[in-house]
Amino acid sequence: MQAAFPLVFAALLFCVGVFGVLSRRNAVLVLMSVELMLAAVTINLVTFGLLAADRGDVVLTGQIFALFVLAIGAAEVGVGLAIILLLYRNRATVNIDDADLMKY
């Protein structure tokens, strides 16, 4: 397979994620969009890892990095959902436009 396929797919997925973060107002959906961005990076890393393996990289840096990204992404979701839950308990909404107490 051409290496361009997964790379273009990852780039598209990343753009979908960025669009979601910028356009969605629901905090959970924003969090999911961030996860899409991380998934795109993971695909990228694995692809580049395979390319590097062809060039003689025996350590599989890209694949190992991808595992780190998955693990840290999971930790991030844990903290993020806790924060969103806290917000929901106090305001009964997870719309980020409603979180506007602090303005000048």
Binding site: L31, V34, M37, L38, L51, F68
Partner: protein, 557 residues
């Protein structure tokens, strides 16, 4: 038996633990404080268990390697934590705070030892194994001047934050057991970020510090502002981490390596500017820009600084900035220096925008914490001047600036925390009117920190600004320095407005007489220490600090 004999012996990698000893100290103390808090009434038993295991481990190391210093220190630390737990077993918060302060002090001690090895004063068999080499822990960690200096900055910030937090958190009823461990974990991430020589390590360290800080920002969980700060910090922080990570992935794709120095070498040997390399650098700048609060990416800063508990705000402003700038420096000034034609113009513009926007937006603020938040943005701009200079003087200027800014920030937020304790609300500038008459000492301290933030000659802030401005002029960025001076003048306006409100205006009529300020010992100590450091660096010792930073301004490559 014959089968066992056929198995080849394992090659156990030689791990230079001494290279990451400050991180180990911080992380270990964090885990210990968390354990003792979780143990509840059984904390004495838990502490004794820790003592037993640590002593046994130290004894084993002492017998098997015939070293005595390191096991001795570990044994002493284990005994010390047991003694502390025995003395303060009924006061878990105080115990936790003491352990955290000792942890930060211990990390500073270990870093001083590393600095001795770095500067060549301490000659030992061990010293050469971890200093100035880029192959530590598989090329993951670099122990160079920038890393050591930033570690000290971060640990000093933590050391001042602990006493500032104690009474404040008690009063706001947010003094829960995980407070100090989270502070220590955040500091672990920051010191690791400052010394990471590999992009994998950069990402992990950024996440370790960010996840701790997201929770700390929302620590006052009944307070709507604090929740909001945590949410905004989390969403924008996670977004920026993902952008940074995409940049890292592209760098890995272009160069085939995640090692920062190697990636830099591979980048500079590219013949033509490739689209992917440009995209990678742009994403890295955006990612680091979010973490260091540079202008188009600063939207979260004022909200988070205003909403987070005040001592945490001081810590975030000071230590996060120091750590993120250290990594930013290592990647761009250290590794991508051959490509500086491509990124210095971008950062030049960002620096100018940051300085001007930060200062102008701060003028219209009414909440003092929010105003200091925008002033933190402006200060990030001044730091960028040393950055775009791309020379040794610039790096040294950045280091000096971040150390001095640490004390200015912690001191000013510390005084605000003291005032908030009495008034039980966020401080607007109007609330400060007449403060100089009633409470001259805290008002005087705040005035000292504000004057220093403004960079009036004779204060430490002037020394810091002078260091980066000099580097900027030397590198031929005179126009940028002129913009910085204009921004400083605008900034001086709102700092001095607060001082005028405190000393020249009367208490507004109709306001009931307020209870006298009751500063706790810890808060007074933290604020007085910051003030003493400011005065010392501003008047007597600036050359000492600048010399140290000059020695420190190197990267391994």
């Amino acid at each position: 038996m014959t089968l066992l004999a056929q198995i080849p012996p394992l090659q156990i990698p030689d791990i230079a633990w001494s290279a990451i000893s400050p991180e180990l100290v911080l992380f270990g103390v964090g885990i210990l404080a968390l354990l003792l808090d979780t143990a509840g009434p059984q904390r004495l038993q838990a502490s004794f268990l820790v003592f037993g295991f640590a002593a046994a481990g130290a004894g084993y190391i002492a017998l098997s390697t015939e070293q005595s210093v390191l096991p001795g220190l570990v044994g002493l630390a284990a005994l010390g934590q047991f003694a502390l737990t025995a003395i303060w077993r009924d006061r878990p918060r105080l115990l936790s705070a003491l352990l955290a302060a000792l942890g930060f002090a211990g990390a500073i001690g270990v870093t001083t030892w590393q600095w001795g090895a770095y500067s060549g004063r301490l000659v030992g068999a061990d010293a050469a194994t971890f200093v100035g080499t880029d192959s530590l822990l598989g090329g993951m960690v670099a122990v160079d001047g920038v890393a050591l200096f930033t570690r000290v900055t971060v640990c000093l910030a933590g050391l001042v934050t602990v006493p500032l937090s104690f009474a404040y958190a008690e009063e706001r009823r947010i003094h829960r057991g995980e407070y100090y461990p989270l502070l220590l974990f955040a500091a672990t991430g920051m010191t690791l970020l400052a010394s990471s020589a590999d992009f994998i390590m950069v990402f992990i360290a950024i996440e370790v510090l960010s996840l701790s800080l997201y929770i700390l920002a929302g620590f006052a969980k009944r307070d709507l502002n604090s929740q909001e700060a945590a949410l905004k910090y989390f969403l924008l922080g996670a977004f920026s981490s993902a952008l940074l990570l995409y940049g890292i992935a592209l760098v890995y794709g272009v160069t085939g390596s995640t090692n920062i120095a190697e990636a830099g070498r591979a980048f500079s040997s590219l013949d033509a500017p490739q689209g992917m390399a440009v995209a990678a650098m742009a994403l890295l700048i955006v990612g680091f820009g979010f973490k260091t609060a540079i202008v188009p990416f600063h939207m979260w800063t004022p909200d988070v600084y205003q909403g987070a508990p005040t001592p945490i705000t001081g810590f975030m402003a000071a230590a996060t900035k120091a750590a993120a700038f250290a990594a930013f420096l290592r990647v761009f000034v250290g590794a991508f220096a051959p490509l500086q034609w491509s990124w210095t113009p971008v950062l030049w513009v960002l620096a100018a925008l940051t300085m001007l926007a930060g200062a102008i937006l701060a003028v219209v603020q009414n909440d003092v914490k929010r105003m200091l938040g925008y002033s933190a943005v402006a200060h990030a701009g001044y730091v960028l001047i040393g950055f775009v200079a791309v020379n040794r003087a610039g790096v040294s200027g950045v280091l000096v600036y971040l150390l001095i800014y640490t004390f200015m920030s912690l001191g000013s937020f510390g005084v605000l925390a003291l005032l908030e304790r009495r008034n039980h609300k966020a401080m607007a500038i109007d609330d400060l009117r007449g403060l100089g008459r009633r409470d001259p000492v805290p008002a005087g301290m705040l005035a000292l920190f504000l004057l220093s933030l403004a960079g009036i000659p004779g204060t430490a802030g002037f020394v810091a600004k002078f260091a980066v401005f000099r580097a900027g002029i030397e590198a031929g960025h005179a126009a940028l320095v002129v913009i910085a001076v204009v921004s400083s003048v605008i900034a001086a306006f709102f700092y001095i407005r607060v001082i005028v409100a405190m000393f020249m205006e009367d208490v507004p009529e109709g306001v009931a007489a307020e209870a006298p300020l009751a500063p706790s010992t810890g808060m007074s100590a933290g604020i007085a220490f910051s003030a003493a450091v400011m005065v010392a660096f501003g008047t007597v010792l600036p050359f000492l600090l600048v010399d140290l930073a000059d020695q420190a301004a190197t990267f391994v490559s």
